[in-house]
């Protein structure tokens, strides 16, 4: 499943540590989500989407394969 977390974070010129602090997760978890190694739980997916003012389906796309996967 592809997600747009990295793009959205870079658009806002945030570091992975900043995003991790904003979402109350670890920096390692942000790295795992961005690289597609970890699929966040539904509550965390909503938190991410709300943080970027997007809907969950705009943030996570089940039809798109992760690049390099």
């Amino acid at each position: 499943m592809r997600n747009h977390v990295r793009e959205q974070r870079l658009l806002r010129e945030m570091s992975q540590a900043d995003l991790a602090a904003a979402l109350s997760v670890s920096r390692q978890t942000v790295i795992s989500i961005e690289s597609g190694r970890y699929l966040p739980s539904l509550p965390l997916a909503f938190r991410i989407a709300r943080f970027f003012d997007l809907t969950v389906d705009k943030m996570f796309d089940p039809d798109e394969e992760e690049a390099g996967a």
């Binding site: 109350s24 997760v25 670890s26 920096r27 390692q28 978890t29 795992s32 970890y38 966040p40 739980s41 965390l44």
Partner: protein, 151 residues
Amino acid sequence: MTRFIRPRLRKPLRRAVAGLGIAGAWAIGGGQSWWLAIVIAIVVVCSTAGWYVWAGQDTDEGALLGSRADERQQQVGQRARALAGTVAMVAAYAGLLVTLAVNRADAWPFAIMLFATGLGYLFGLSSYGSGEPAADEDADAGDQARAAAGG
């Protein structure tokens, strides 16, 4: 009770208590090698300091040790515990097989370990499973929707 202990210290302290328990048991066992209990206690205290330092690091292992793991790190910890449980079960089974073949009188600790791990698995299934299947609410909802549409 653990609420009064700093999160970073909880797991290292728990391991220290477990380790000092072994040292105490060794000391109670007595014999000529009773002094090894002191060595064990020193090793436990030193390793506890090491665990505490590790618990402060910005890694998955540090977060787990420091009791501040997020959902992914908790999942990692659960998988690691599941693997440890599987290894314990396989080791108990192998020990049981070997002792049954060599000296049956020594087999009971392995049998108890195998029984305990198996029982723990079954208890986990009953505790974390969904239990009794719920009533088919979708069917009821469908009936009501059809009735509403028809009426």
